[in-house]
Amino acid sequence: MRYFLYSTIFFLINSIHAKSQDSLNNSIGIQLGITRLDFFTGFRYARSFDKLVPFCTAEMGINRTIFQSRFFPKLGIGSSYFVVNKSKLKIGPQLSFSHSLLKVNSASNHYHNWNEVYLGGRLEIGSKIRLIIEANSGLLNERYYNQISKKKEGLNSLGFNGNIGLLYVW
Protein backbone atom coordinates (compact mmCIF):
# COMPACT_ATOMS: atom_id res chain seq x y z
CA MET A 1 0.00 0.00 0.00
CA ARG A 2 2.90 2.33 0.87
CA TYR A 3 4.29 1.56 -2.58
CA PHE A 4 1.15 2.95 -4.24
CA LEU A 5 0.99 5.97 -1.93
CA TYR A 6 4.55 7.04 -2.79
CA SER A 7 3.83 6.53 -6.49
CA THR A 8 0.69 8.67 -6.30
CA ILE A 9 2.56 11.48 -4.50
CA PHE A 10 5.28 11.29 -7.15
CA PHE A 11 2.75 11.70 -9.95
CA LEU A 12 0.88 14.53 -8.20
CA ILE A 13 4.07 16.53 -7.58
CA ASN A 14 5.07 16.09 -11.18
CA SER A 15 1.63 17.07 -12.45
CA ILE A 16 1.92 20.44 -10.66
CA HIS A 17 5.29 20.98 -12.29
CA ALA A 18 4.03 19.78 -15.67
CA LYS A 19 1.15 22.28 -15.81
CA SER A 20 3.64 25.06 -16.38
CA GLN A 21 4.76 23.51 -19.66
CA ASP A 22 3.40 24.79 -23.00
CA SER A 23 3.15 21.64 -25.06
CA LEU A 24 -0.33 20.23 -25.10
CA ASN A 25 -1.38 17.18 -27.03
CA ASN A 26 -4.46 15.09 -27.28
CA SER A 27 -4.41 11.49 -28.32
CA ILE A 28 -6.98 8.86 -28.94
CA GLY A 29 -6.25 5.23 -29.61
CA ILE A 30 -7.31 1.66 -29.62
CA GLN A 31 -5.64 -1.04 -27.57
CA LEU A 32 -5.68 -4.77 -27.03
CA GLY A 33 -4.47 -6.37 -23.84
CA ILE A 34 -4.32 -9.43 -21.68
CA THR A 35 -5.20 -9.60 -17.99
CA ARG A 36 -5.87 -12.43 -15.54
CA LEU A 37 -9.59 -12.02 -16.19
CA ASP A 38 -9.88 -11.80 -19.97
CA PHE A 39 -8.45 -10.25 -23.11
CA PHE A 40 -9.60 -6.65 -23.25
CA THR A 41 -9.96 -4.24 -26.14
CA GLY A 42 -11.15 -0.65 -26.20
CA PHE A 43 -10.40 3.03 -26.51
CA ARG A 44 -8.01 5.31 -24.76
CA TYR A 45 -8.00 9.08 -24.56
CA ALA A 46 -5.02 11.01 -23.19
CA ARG A 47 -3.96 14.63 -22.90
CA SER A 48 -0.31 15.35 -22.38
CA PHE A 49 1.18 18.06 -20.19
CA ASP A 50 4.79 17.78 -21.27
CA LYS A 51 6.06 14.60 -19.59
CA LEU A 52 2.89 13.88 -17.70
CA VAL A 53 0.10 12.19 -19.63
CA PRO A 54 -3.15 11.53 -17.77
CA PHE A 55 -5.47 9.15 -19.58
CA CYS A 56 -8.80 7.38 -19.40
CA THR A 57 -9.81 4.08 -20.98
CA ALA A 58 -13.02 2.29 -21.85
CA GLU A 59 -12.65 -1.40 -22.67
CA MET A 60 -14.56 -4.64 -22.82
CA GLY A 61 -13.58 -8.25 -22.18
CA ILE A 62 -13.38 -10.09 -25.49
CA ASN A 63 -14.06 -13.66 -24.36
CA ARG A 64 -16.96 -12.71 -22.10
CA THR A 65 -18.58 -10.15 -24.40
CA ILE A 66 -18.01 -11.66 -27.83
CA PHE A 67 -17.66 -15.40 -27.25
CA GLN A 68 -19.91 -15.76 -24.20
CA SER A 69 -22.48 -13.05 -24.95
CA ARG A 70 -22.04 -11.45 -21.53
CA PHE A 71 -21.07 -7.75 -21.57
CA PHE A 72 -17.88 -7.24 -19.54
CA PRO A 73 -17.00 -3.53 -19.43
CA LYS A 74 -13.94 -1.96 -17.84
CA LEU A 75 -13.28 1.73 -17.20
CA GLY A 76 -9.93 3.08 -16.15
CA ILE A 77 -7.99 6.23 -15.37
CA GLY A 78 -4.31 6.81 -14.83
CA SER A 79 -1.26 8.77 -15.72
CA SER A 80 2.04 8.12 -17.43
CA TYR A 81 5.19 10.10 -16.77
CA PHE A 82 7.67 9.98 -19.64
CA VAL A 83 11.23 10.07 -18.37
CA VAL A 84 12.36 9.66 -21.97
CA ASN A 85 10.32 12.26 -23.87
CA LYS A 86 11.73 12.48 -27.40
CA SER A 87 9.53 13.47 -30.33
CA LYS A 88 9.36 9.89 -31.65
CA LEU A 89 10.10 7.87 -28.51
CA LYS A 90 8.53 8.09 -25.11
CA ILE A 91 9.25 5.77 -22.20
CA GLY A 92 8.12 6.03 -18.62
CA PRO A 93 6.30 4.63 -15.64
CA GLN A 94 2.57 4.80 -15.23
CA LEU A 95 0.01 4.41 -12.49
CA SER A 96 -3.51 3.26 -13.29
CA PHE A 97 -6.78 2.35 -11.66
CA SER A 98 -9.56 0.42 -13.35
CA HIS A 99 -12.90 -1.03 -12.46
CA SER A 100 -14.69 -3.83 -14.28
CA LEU A 101 -17.92 -5.63 -13.59
CA LEU A 102 -19.55 -8.80 -14.81
CA LYS A 103 -22.78 -10.61 -14.09
CA VAL A 104 -21.43 -14.15 -13.76
CA ASN A 105 -24.73 -15.73 -12.80
CA SER A 106 -27.59 -14.04 -14.64
CA ALA A 107 -30.10 -15.75 -12.34
CA SER A 108 -28.69 -13.63 -9.51
CA ASN A 109 -28.96 -9.88 -8.89
CA HIS A 110 -25.32 -9.57 -7.95
CA TYR A 111 -22.34 -8.52 -10.00
CA HIS A 112 -18.72 -9.54 -9.70
CA ASN A 113 -16.54 -6.41 -9.48
CA TRP A 114 -12.82 -6.11 -9.99
CA ASN A 115 -10.67 -3.13 -8.98
CA GLU A 116 -7.12 -3.00 -10.27
CA VAL A 117 -4.42 -0.57 -9.06
CA TYR A 118 -1.34 -1.10 -11.15
CA LEU A 119 2.10 0.40 -11.55
CA GLY A 120 4.00 -0.32 -14.73
CA GLY A 121 5.88 0.96 -17.73
CA ARG A 122 4.84 2.42 -21.05
CA LEU A 123 6.54 2.83 -24.39
CA GLU A 124 5.32 4.98 -27.30
CA ILE A 125 7.01 4.92 -30.69
CA GLY A 126 6.11 7.35 -33.48
CA SER A 127 4.98 10.94 -33.83
CA LYS A 128 1.49 11.45 -35.27
CA ILE A 129 0.55 7.76 -35.27
CA ARG A 130 2.15 5.95 -32.35
CA LEU A 131 2.59 2.32 -31.41
CA ILE A 132 2.14 1.77 -27.70
CA ILE A 133 3.34 -1.10 -25.55
CA GLU A 134 2.78 -1.28 -21.83
CA ALA A 135 3.01 -3.74 -18.95
CA ASN A 136 1.58 -3.21 -15.49
CA SER A 137 1.23 -5.14 -12.28
CA GLY A 138 -0.23 -4.58 -8.84
CA LEU A 139 -3.24 -5.13 -6.65
CA LEU A 140 -6.24 -6.99 -8.07
CA ASN A 141 -9.23 -6.75 -5.76
CA GLU A 142 -12.22 -8.95 -6.51
CA ARG A 143 -15.58 -8.25 -4.89
CA TYR A 144 -18.42 -10.73 -5.18
CA TYR A 145 -21.51 -11.87 -3.35
CA ASN A 146 -20.70 -14.75 -1.01
CA GLN A 147 -23.64 -17.15 -1.04
CA ILE A 148 -22.59 -18.61 2.33
CA SER A 149 -22.14 -15.41 4.34
CA LYS A 150 -24.88 -13.68 2.27
CA LYS A 151 -22.85 -10.49 1.82
CA LYS A 152 -20.38 -8.93 -0.59
CA GLU A 153 -16.77 -9.84 0.14
CA GLY A 154 -13.43 -8.80 -1.26
CA LEU A 155 -10.34 -10.83 -2.08
CA ASN A 156 -6.96 -9.39 -2.96
CA SER A 157 -4.40 -10.96 -5.23
CA LEU A 158 -1.62 -10.02 -7.59
CA GLY A 159 -2.81 -8.87 -11.01
CA PHE A 160 -1.16 -7.80 -14.22
CA ASN A 161 -1.93 -6.54 -17.67
CA GLY A 162 -0.08 -6.10 -20.92
CA ASN A 163 -1.35 -3.88 -23.71
CA ILE A 164 -0.43 -3.01 -27.28
CA GLY A 165 -2.20 -0.40 -29.32
CA LEU A 166 -2.17 2.47 -31.76
CA LEU A 167 -2.59 6.16 -30.94
CA TYR A 168 -3.52 9.10 -33.09
CA VAL A 169 -2.05 12.33 -31.71
CA TRP A 170 -3.17 15.86 -32.52
Binding site: M60, R64, F71, A107, Y144
Partner: protein
Protein backbone atom coordinates in the same frame (compact mmCIF):
# COMPACT_ATOMS: atom_id res chain seq x y z
CA UNK B 1 -16.94 11.90 -42.76
CA UNK B 2 -19.10 14.38 -40.89
CA UNK B 3 -19.95 14.18 -37.18
CA UNK B 4 -23.33 12.52 -37.83
CA UNK B 5 -21.53 9.68 -39.68
CA UNK B 6 -19.34 9.08 -36.61
CA UNK B 7 -22.45 9.06 -34.41
CA UNK B 8 -24.16 6.55 -36.69
CA UNK B 9 -21.03 4.35 -36.68
CA UNK B 10 -20.92 4.56 -32.88
CA UNK B 11 -24.58 3.57 -32.60
CA UNK B 12 -24.08 0.57 -34.90
CA UNK B 13 -21.08 -0.62 -32.83
CA UNK B 14 -22.99 -0.19 -29.55
CA UNK B 15 -26.12 -1.95 -30.80
CA UNK B 16 -24.00 -4.83 -32.19
CA UNK B 17 -22.28 -5.29 -28.82
CA UNK B 18 -25.62 -5.25 -27.01
CA UNK B 19 -27.15 -7.76 -29.43
CA UNK B 20 -24.19 -10.13 -29.03
CA UNK B 21 -24.26 -9.67 -25.25
CA UNK B 22 -27.99 -10.36 -24.90
CA UNK B 23 -28.47 -13.37 -27.17
CA UNK B 24 -30.75 -16.05 -25.74
CA UNK B 25 -29.07 -19.14 -24.36
CA UNK B 26 -30.18 -22.73 -24.05
CA UNK B 27 -31.39 -23.74 -20.59
CA UNK B 28 -29.05 -25.93 -18.54
CA UNK B 29 -30.77 -25.52 -15.18
CA UNK B 30 -30.60 -29.20 -14.25
CA UNK B 31 -26.83 -29.49 -14.79
CA UNK B 32 -24.74 -28.91 -11.67
CA UNK B 33 -21.53 -26.90 -11.72
CA UNK B 34 -18.69 -28.40 -9.68
CA UNK B 35 -15.25 -26.84 -9.29
CA UNK B 36 -12.38 -29.11 -10.37
CA UNK B 37 -9.74 -29.17 -7.60
CA UNK B 38 -11.96 -26.52 -5.93
CA UNK B 39 -11.50 -23.42 -8.11
CA UNK B 40 -9.81 -25.10 -11.08
CA UNK B 41 -6.46 -26.55 -11.99
CA UNK B 42 -3.82 -24.16 -13.35
CA UNK B 43 -6.39 -21.48 -14.04
CA UNK B 44 -5.13 -17.92 -14.46
CA UNK B 45 -8.08 -16.15 -12.84
CA UNK B 46 -8.12 -18.28 -9.68
CA UNK B 47 -7.27 -16.37 -6.50
CA UNK B 48 -6.16 -19.42 -4.51
CA UNK B 49 -4.17 -22.55 -5.27
CA UNK B 50 -6.10 -25.65 -6.30
CA UNK B 51 -7.01 -28.07 -3.50
CA UNK B 52 -6.34 -25.53 -0.76
CA UNK B 53 -8.84 -24.96 2.04
CA UNK B 54 -9.19 -21.34 0.90
CA UNK B 55 -9.98 -22.42 -2.68
CA UNK B 56 -12.64 -24.86 -1.47
CA UNK B 57 -14.29 -22.16 0.63
CA UNK B 58 -14.13 -19.67 -2.22
CA UNK B 59 -15.63 -22.11 -4.74
CA UNK B 60 -18.52 -22.94 -2.42
CA UNK B 61 -19.17 -19.24 -1.84
CA UNK B 62 -19.72 -18.43 -5.54
CA UNK B 63 -23.41 -18.11 -6.39
CA UNK B 64 -24.38 -21.02 -8.63
CA UNK B 65 -21.48 -23.30 -7.74
CA UNK B 66 -22.99 -26.63 -6.67
CA UNK B 67 -19.92 -28.28 -5.18
CA UNK B 68 -16.26 -29.12 -5.48
CA UNK B 69 -14.05 -31.98 -6.53
CA UNK B 70 -10.84 -32.40 -4.53
CA UNK B 71 -7.85 -34.72 -4.82
CA UNK B 72 -7.11 -36.89 -1.83
CA UNK B 73 -3.87 -38.66 -0.89
CA UNK B 74 -2.87 -40.68 2.17
CA UNK B 75 0.06 -39.48 4.31
CA UNK B 76 2.68 -41.68 6.00
CA UNK B 77 0.61 -41.39 9.21
CA UNK B 78 -2.50 -42.59 7.38
CA UNK B 79 -4.31 -39.23 7.21
CA UNK B 80 -6.08 -37.93 4.11
CA UNK B 81 -4.60 -34.74 2.62
CA UNK B 82 -5.71 -32.56 -0.27
CA UNK B 83 -3.11 -32.50 -3.03
CA UNK B 84 -3.21 -33.00 -6.78
CA UNK B 85 0.30 -33.66 -8.09
CA UNK B 86 2.42 -36.77 -7.58
CA UNK B 87 5.30 -34.77 -6.13
CA UNK B 88 5.34 -31.80 -3.78
CA UNK B 89 8.39 -30.14 -5.34
CA UNK B 90 6.81 -28.15 -8.19
CA UNK B 91 3.93 -26.43 -6.40
CA UNK B 92 5.05 -26.28 -2.76
CA UNK B 93 8.11 -25.63 -0.62
CA UNK B 94 8.20 -29.34 0.26
CA UNK B 95 9.88 -32.26 -1.47
CA UNK B 96 8.91 -35.87 -2.16
CA UNK B 97 5.44 -37.36 -2.06
CA UNK B 98 2.51 -37.01 0.36
CA UNK B 99 2.71 -40.68 1.37
CA UNK B 100 6.40 -40.35 2.32
CA UNK B 101 5.81 -37.57 4.85
CA UNK B 102 4.27 -37.49 8.30
CA UNK B 103 1.38 -35.22 9.22
CA UNK B 104 3.66 -32.87 11.16
CA UNK B 105 5.97 -32.55 8.15
CA UNK B 106 3.04 -31.92 5.80
CA UNK B 107 1.57 -29.32 8.18
CA UNK B 108 4.65 -27.15 7.65
CA UNK B 109 4.34 -27.16 3.85
CA UNK B 110 2.97 -24.18 1.90
CA UNK B 111 2.12 -23.63 -1.75
CA UNK B 112 4.46 -21.35 -3.71
CA UNK B 113 1.81 -18.66 -4.22
CA UNK B 114 1.29 -15.10 -3.07
CA UNK B 115 -1.15 -16.28 -0.38
CA UNK B 116 1.14 -19.16 0.71
CA UNK B 117 -1.81 -21.48 1.42
CA UNK B 118 -0.94 -24.41 3.68
CA UNK B 119 -1.59 -28.00 2.64
CA UNK B 120 -4.95 -29.03 4.08
CA UNK B 121 -6.20 -32.28 5.60
CA UNK B 122 -9.65 -33.48 4.59
CA UNK B 123 -10.63 -33.05 8.24
CA UNK B 124 -9.60 -29.35 8.08
CA UNK B 125 -12.49 -28.57 5.74
CA UNK B 126 -15.56 -27.01 7.29
CA UNK B 127 -18.15 -29.61 6.30
CA UNK B 128 -21.06 -27.35 7.28
CA UNK B 129 -20.27 -25.26 4.17
CA UNK B 130 -21.22 -28.22 2.00
CA UNK B 131 -24.86 -28.27 3.06
CA UNK B 132 -26.96 -29.00 -0.05
CA UNK B 133 -23.83 -29.30 -2.18
CA UNK B 134 -21.77 -32.03 -3.84
CA UNK B 135 -18.37 -33.18 -2.58
CA UNK B 136 -16.38 -35.31 -5.00
CA UNK B 137 -13.31 -37.03 -3.55
CA UNK B 138 -10.83 -38.12 -6.21
CA UNK B 139 -8.91 -40.72 -4.24
CA UNK B 140 -5.42 -41.85 -5.27
CA UNK B 141 -4.89 -45.60 -5.16
CA UNK B 142 -1.14 -45.64 -5.87
CA UNK B 143 1.63 -43.94 -3.90
CA UNK B 144 3.50 -41.86 -6.43
CA UNK B 145 7.08 -42.20 -5.18
CA UNK B 146 7.17 -45.93 -4.39
CA UNK B 147 4.50 -47.11 -6.83
CA UNK B 148 2.86 -49.22 -4.08
CA UNK B 149 -0.88 -49.56 -3.76
CA UNK B 150 -2.53 -47.56 -0.99
CA UNK B 151 -4.23 -49.49 1.80
CA UNK B 152 -7.91 -49.22 0.91
CA UNK B 153 -9.10 -50.11 4.43
CA UNK B 154 -7.08 -47.22 5.83
CA UNK B 155 -8.70 -44.79 3.38
CA UNK B 156 -12.21 -46.05 4.13
CA UNK B 157 -11.68 -45.97 7.90
CA UNK B 158 -10.46 -42.36 7.55
CA UNK B 159 -13.58 -41.38 5.61
CA UNK B 160 -15.76 -43.21 8.13
CA UNK B 161 -14.04 -41.44 11.02
CA UNK B 162 -15.11 -38.16 9.44
CA UNK B 163 -18.65 -39.51 9.18
CA UNK B 164 -18.70 -39.10 5.41
CA UNK B 165 -20.38 -42.49 4.84
CA UNK B 166 -23.44 -41.34 6.80
CA UNK B 167 -23.69 -37.69 5.76
CA UNK B 168 -27.21 -36.64 4.80
CA UNK B 169 -26.77 -32.85 4.49
CA UNK B 170 -24.81 -33.15 1.25
CA UNK B 171 -23.73 -35.74 -1.31
CA UNK B 172 -20.31 -37.37 -1.03
CA UNK B 173 -19.00 -39.05 -4.17
CA UNK B 174 -15.84 -41.15 -4.26
CA UNK B 175 -14.17 -40.97 -7.65
CA UNK B 176 -12.13 -44.11 -8.21
CA UNK B 177 -9.93 -45.16 -11.09
CA UNK B 178 -8.95 -48.61 -9.78
CA UNK B 179 -11.70 -51.21 -10.15
CA UNK B 180 -10.45 -53.34 -7.23
CA UNK B 181 -11.50 -50.51 -4.93
CA UNK B 182 -15.11 -50.32 -6.17
CA UNK B 183 -16.50 -53.19 -4.06
CA UNK B 184 -14.90 -52.12 -0.74
CA UNK B 185 -16.18 -48.56 -1.18
CA UNK B 186 -19.70 -49.63 -2.15
CA UNK B 187 -19.62 -52.11 0.74
CA UNK B 188 -18.74 -49.29 3.12
CA UNK B 189 -21.80 -47.33 1.99
CA UNK B 190 -20.17 -44.79 -0.31
CA UNK B 191 -21.43 -43.49 -3.65
CA UNK B 192 -18.80 -44.60 -6.16
CA UNK B 193 -18.21 -42.83 -9.47
CA UNK B 194 -15.74 -44.67 -11.66
CA UNK B 195 -13.46 -42.88 -14.11
CA UNK B 196 -13.81 -44.39 -17.61
CA UNK B 197 -12.24 -43.50 -20.95
CA UNK B 198 -14.39 -45.42 -23.46
CA UNK B 199 -17.67 -47.32 -23.77
CA UNK B 200 -15.99 -50.73 -23.42
CA UNK B 201 -14.89 -49.78 -19.91
CA UNK B 202 -18.45 -48.68 -19.16
CA UNK B 203 -19.90 -52.01 -20.36
CA UNK B 204 -17.34 -54.05 -18.39
CA UNK B 205 -17.85 -52.00 -15.26
CA UNK B 206 -21.64 -52.02 -15.36
CA UNK B 207 -21.63 -55.83 -15.69
CA UNK B 208 -19.17 -56.35 -12.83
CA UNK B 209 -20.49 -53.67 -10.49
CA UNK B 210 -24.18 -53.03 -11.23
CA UNK B 211 -24.64 -51.02 -8.02
CA UNK B 212 -22.07 -48.40 -8.99
CA UNK B 213 -23.56 -44.87 -8.73
CA UNK B 214 -22.10 -43.21 -11.75
CA UNK B 215 -19.22 -42.47 -14.06
CA UNK B 216 -16.74 -39.66 -14.56
CA UNK B 217 -15.60 -39.04 -18.11
CA UNK B 218 -13.33 -36.67 -19.97
CA UNK B 219 -15.29 -34.33 -22.28
CA UNK B 220 -13.17 -35.18 -25.31
CA UNK B 221 -13.61 -38.96 -24.87
CA UNK B 222 -17.41 -39.23 -25.16
CA UNK B 223 -20.00 -38.06 -27.68
CA UNK B 224 -23.50 -36.93 -26.75
CA UNK B 225 -25.14 -40.25 -27.78
CA UNK B 226 -22.66 -42.22 -25.63
CA UNK B 227 -23.45 -39.99 -22.65
CA UNK B 228 -27.16 -40.62 -23.24
CA UNK B 229 -26.50 -44.36 -23.32
CA UNK B 230 -24.81 -44.22 -19.90
CA UNK B 231 -27.57 -42.08 -18.44
CA UNK B 232 -30.19 -44.46 -19.85
CA UNK B 233 -28.58 -47.18 -17.72
CA UNK B 234 -29.72 -45.07 -14.73
CA UNK B 235 -26.20 -44.05 -13.81
CA UNK B 236 -25.03 -40.54 -12.96
CA UNK B 237 -22.65 -38.98 -15.42
CA UNK B 238 -20.08 -36.28 -14.70
CA UNK B 239 -17.89 -34.61 -17.30
CA UNK B 240 -14.46 -33.22 -16.42
CA UNK B 241 -11.52 -31.55 -18.14
CA UNK B 242 -13.34 -28.51 -19.44
CA UNK B 243 -12.10 -24.94 -19.25
CA UNK B 244 -12.66 -22.99 -22.51
CA UNK B 245 -16.08 -21.50 -23.33
CA UNK B 246 -16.29 -23.83 -26.36
CA UNK B 247 -15.41 -26.90 -24.30
CA UNK B 248 -17.84 -25.93 -21.55
CA UNK B 249 -20.63 -25.38 -24.08
CA UNK B 250 -19.95 -28.76 -25.67
CA UNK B 251 -20.02 -30.46 -22.25
CA UNK B 252 -23.29 -28.75 -21.25
CA UNK B 253 -24.88 -29.75 -24.55
CA UNK B 254 -24.16 -33.41 -23.73
CA UNK B 255 -26.54 -33.00 -20.78
CA UNK B 256 -24.51 -34.62 -17.95
CA UNK B 257 -25.64 -34.54 -14.31
CA UNK B 258 -22.74 -32.22 -13.51
CA UNK B 259 -19.73 -30.62 -15.13
CA UNK B 260 -16.51 -30.69 -13.12
CA UNK B 261 -15.02 -27.50 -14.46
CA UNK B 262 -11.66 -25.78 -14.27
CA UNK B 263 -13.27 -22.37 -14.70
CA UNK B 264 -16.34 -21.92 -12.51
CA UNK B 265 -17.13 -18.39 -13.67
CA UNK B 266 -16.93 -19.19 -17.37
CA UNK B 267 -19.14 -22.23 -16.77
CA UNK B 268 -21.71 -20.23 -14.83
CA UNK B 269 -21.88 -17.69 -17.66
CA UNK B 270 -22.51 -20.53 -20.12
CA UNK B 271 -25.06 -22.19 -17.86
CA UNK B 272 -27.13 -19.11 -16.96
Amino acid sequence: MVISDYCMFGKIVLISILLVSCSKKKEFDQIKVVGHAATGLEILNSVYHDNSKEAVEMALSIEGCDGVEIDIQLSKDGTLWLFHDDHLDKETNGTGCINELTDSQLSAIEYKTIHKEKLARLEDLNLTLFKGKELFLDIRHVTACSGDFVNVSQVISNLNALGLHAITDFNVHCILSYNQWISPFIGAGFKVDYAIYNLNEFNTCINLYPSISGFVVRNSDFEKNEIEMIKNANKDLYIFEIRSPKGIRSALNKNPDAVITDDIRTTLIEKY
